[in-house]
Amino acid sequence: MTSGDPAQPPRRVDRAGLVVAALLAGLAAVLVWDARGLQSAAMYGMGPEAMPVVVASGLALLALGNFIDALRGNLPARESADPVPVVLILIGLALLIAIIGFGGGFILATSALFVTTSAAFGRRAILVDSIIALVMSTVIYLAFDRLLTLSLPAGPLERLL
């Protein structure tokens, strides 16, 4: 894409690629560590520990492959990314989980997510968005809870309905 700087040497070590390789190797280690605690109960053939070891070997090989790709700088070019909106959305998800976890109910939880996501995409009208979010999640709650009889978690707001 446009971010590829022609002046740069085309082959340089890709740090992110190295991190990916390290994570894969770590995952392989976790699999093997977990499989050691399993007892092979099968009289014939494979026990429950065989497959994790097979997958772990695959992951280890792929860690090596990714490591080589990263050393050669063989990874596709990446455009710059803006971390702020990503963090905002993650805060929204964390809020949602916390509100559900503490029994705040569906409407408040999803409204919090709606407002933070909308802000992450550049909206600054938090009050307007909050009203939209509350109305929308209330409608969804009623539609799913009453019409489709799916049980969504109820909090103080839901009990008023």
Binding site: D34, L62, D69, P85, L113, F121, R123, I140
Partner: protein, 500 residues
Amino acid sequence: MMDTFAALAHGMAVAVQPMNLLYALIGVFLGTAVGVLPGIGPALTVALLLPVTYKLDPGGSLIMFAGIYYGGMYGGSTTAILINTPGESASMATALEGNKMAKAGRGGPALATSAIGSFVAGTIATIGLAFLAPWLVDFAVRFGPEDYFALMCVAFVTVSATFGDSPIRGLTSLFIGLTLGLVGIDKLTGQARLAFGIPELLDGVEVTTLAVGLFAVGEALYVASRRHHTEEKLEPVRGSLWMTKEDWKRSWKPWLRGTMFGFPIGALPAGGAEIPTFLSYSTEKRLTKHPEEFGKGAIEGVAGPEAANNASAAGTLVPLLTLGLPTSATAAMMLAGFQQYGLNPGPLLFAERPDLVWGLIASLFIANCMLLVLNLPLVGLWVRLLAIPQPWLYAGILVFATMGTIAAKPSVVELSMLAGFGVLGFLMRRFDFPIAPVVVGLILGPIAESQLRRALAISLGDPMTLVQSPISATLLAVALIALLAPFVLKGLGRFKANED
């Protein structure tokens, strides 16, 4: 042959019951409405709408699914044409020419040729499905566990390694999926694997949580992170919606050729509709009488790839229904839809619940007809959906995405997993790892493991059983070739490049 007609007639009788027609209509409508939203492909459409079907009986829910599936496909192409954001790589070819047509004020005919082409291709491919399926089922009942295991190896390799940009990154995605598939209680011995003492993990990773996390949350994070790069522009639909005589003349052959590419490639466990769509695009480019229009909005370049896309979608239902083998993310979500009722597609389901399977196939025909009738007149409504401002659009998508999980399992652990998979999806998009192999790995991994263990238990632990069955030996050889081919071809390519 006669059996197929009888079975299909029986399926039609199931599908035209008023309630089932209503389910199909709701499915088509919802599928299109969700599929038309930018950034939402058919797989995510199916995943997001799964909770809507929780409370229906299996028959009605699968019929609604058929509608959602085709509706999502159609909605995706509308987005590709009008805002040039293909929801999935299979719509890329459509976006290429279709968006140019819309810019030139020919958005109406572009939408029309894609709708009619989808109808033609979908109908022919569904007929193909109806005739191919019983034949494959006859073949598949002879499969032993070792043959199934070998078949899944083929699917693993073709989905992840053979056709992607980088076999290493594709296989990495697959193995992440296989790892997730190990989580939970081992069915044969009752021991917990990778549960780390968390009770919610004992049931394993929910397919919908993974898919919605990777596709919806991941996509929202990714689009948000690079909002400063792209400005999306919605092309208004100007002028006539209808195709001229000339448009028809230029469209019908590409529709048929696209179908011929799409159905067989979709029906092979090769995964993905990208290959047939691009094959169709390059073929039309070569055969056209108007080569100067290509790249500037040639109607053949919309008609062919759209037909190929739809035909291959129907094609992927062949291995899904007859063998229980999902070869695309969308097919994987359909399988999740079956599994929520404890149904496992495959030869047994054809024998035990013919009403379900043939009702589903018949509903595909009906959904296709409904789409044709509904979509062109309603195009104004879909366009208005496209005009939702981006902040509200993605906020709404995330609310719906989390709602599915909240409705299924309102636990902190499950929601944290959803968020975690979202981050994973974001990172995979950013570093160019394909997403579909993760979902396929999660679904097929445990099935492949249990088939392999069954095969080895039958053979008293002798691994030679895998190569003693001719079917299994052939399939394993195919898998090996498909695994090595991209590496060998890449080596050849490098060799050639050095020679120049």
